[in-house]
């Protein structure tokens, strides 16, 4: 289908035609271009934001991967300290229970002022070791203290003293016991803190070692694979 003559005429005449647009046309285009220009930098800044965000994200992931001690350890630490607290609370009643027992022994034996005082002196000494980790020690020391009390009682039986004096001194005994108890509690609390720190340190150490070994494992794995690939490639190259 060749273009007809009249079509050629149409084309020539239409292509020569010029229609001047209105004066407003450029102003409108100008305004549209300005708007487009204003929008462009915004897009650019958004792009930069995305780049910055992803960079920070990578940093976070990186730090978490290479320093996982902080977060992964926090959870177990809490659990363990709770457990420790439970343990201590178990120990505390034991200590508290033991003290009255020794008191009862003292009272039932009708011990004199001296013996009671000695017992009190022994008690703090004994309660020191009691707060140590093992309950066995506590019981041993209590046994020791009871032995001392018995010895004192024998000595005391030789020195005959009145019951009136004993009653007046009982009040003193109670006061002294309270002071001793407070001391024991304070010591226990001090020990608590020490134990906590030791536990977390140990955990951190162990976790660090675990992580190190994991990282080393990964590195050795990668190395192994790399070596395998290297060998395979060199073999292939030799065959060729």
């Amino acid at each position: 289908m060749e273009p007809n003559n009249f079509e050629k005429d149409f084309r020539d005449k239409l292509n020569e035609r010029k229609i001047e647009p209105s004066n407003k046309a450029w102003d409108r285009l100008d305004a549209m271009l300005s708007v487009a220009e204003e929008n462009k930098p915004k897009k650019k800044s958004k792009k930069w934001l995305y780049i910055a965000a992803s960079f920070i994200g990578f940093l976070l992931v990186g730090t978490l991967f290479f320093n996982p001690n902080k977060k992964s350890v926090e959870m177990p630490e809490n659990v363990i300290t709770e457990k420790e607290l439970e343990k201590e609370t178990i120990v505390n009643p034991m200590v508290n229970k033991i003290d009255p027992v020794s008191n009862e022994i003292a009272v039932s034996d009708k011990s004199s002022k001296e013996t009671v005082v000695k017992q009190q002196k022994n008690n703090p000494e004994a309660s020191g070791p009691i707060s140590d980790k093992t309950i066995k020690n506590e019981s041993n020391q209590i046994a020791e203290s009871s032995v001392i009390i018995k010895n004192n009682h024998q000595k005391q039986s030789q020195n005959n003293q009145t019951e009136i004096a004993e009653t007046s001194k009982k009040e003193n005994v109670d006061q002294l016991l309270e002071i001793a108890e407070n001391k024991v509690l304070a010591q226990n609390q001090a020990k608590k803190a020490k134990v906590k720190i030791n536990a977390s340190d140990l955990l951190n150490q162990v976790d660090g070692e675990l992580e190190l070994s994991f990282r080393e494992k990964m590195i050795t794995k990668v190395n192994k694979n790399f070596q395998e690939v290297k060998v395979a490639l060199s073999n292939r190259n030799q065959q060729e």
Binding site: N4, F6, E7, K13, R17, P21, A25, L29
Partner: protein, 186 residues
Amino acid sequence: MKIIPLHQEEAKIIKLAVENNRQAQQQIYGRFSSKMLSVCRQYIKDIQLAEDVMITAFMKVFINLNKFEHNGSFEGWIRRIMVNECISYLRVQKKVKFAEDEFFIEESFNEIDSQFTVEQIQYLIDALPDGYKMVFNLYAIEGYKHNEIAKMLGINEGTSKSQLSHARKMLQTQITILKKQDNGTE
């Protein structure tokens, strides 16, 4: 010798316009706007609407100016954007649909030797339905081939041919009427 500096000047202006230099953009607009409004007017009867479409097309020209490869004619590149904008305007805004008939007659009207003014030609084209008008403009005026037109309009090649054939037939009858009127008045 004269073409090279002209081409260099054009390349320089384009480079400036890419960098959003408003003066360079205005220079390009000033050089091509009247021709491009004429192109848009071929497709759109309302001159105001034609101008609107031209402005949108010029926006596209400036936005995509960095994609212009300097191996073709700059005017041809702008013209293609104008034509595409007019087509999308007619198809989207006016929702022009093409009858999918593939009936067309190969005939020529070589005997018709028109001596019309541009206004008369435009009047004849304006009288065509939008579908015929698009295909006729693209084929006869812009020089696209039927397979290209089919791609541009999203129709079959056969539909493009039949639309052209219908447009020609309509134009022929209109031309004969106009000629009779002209002869009568003369």
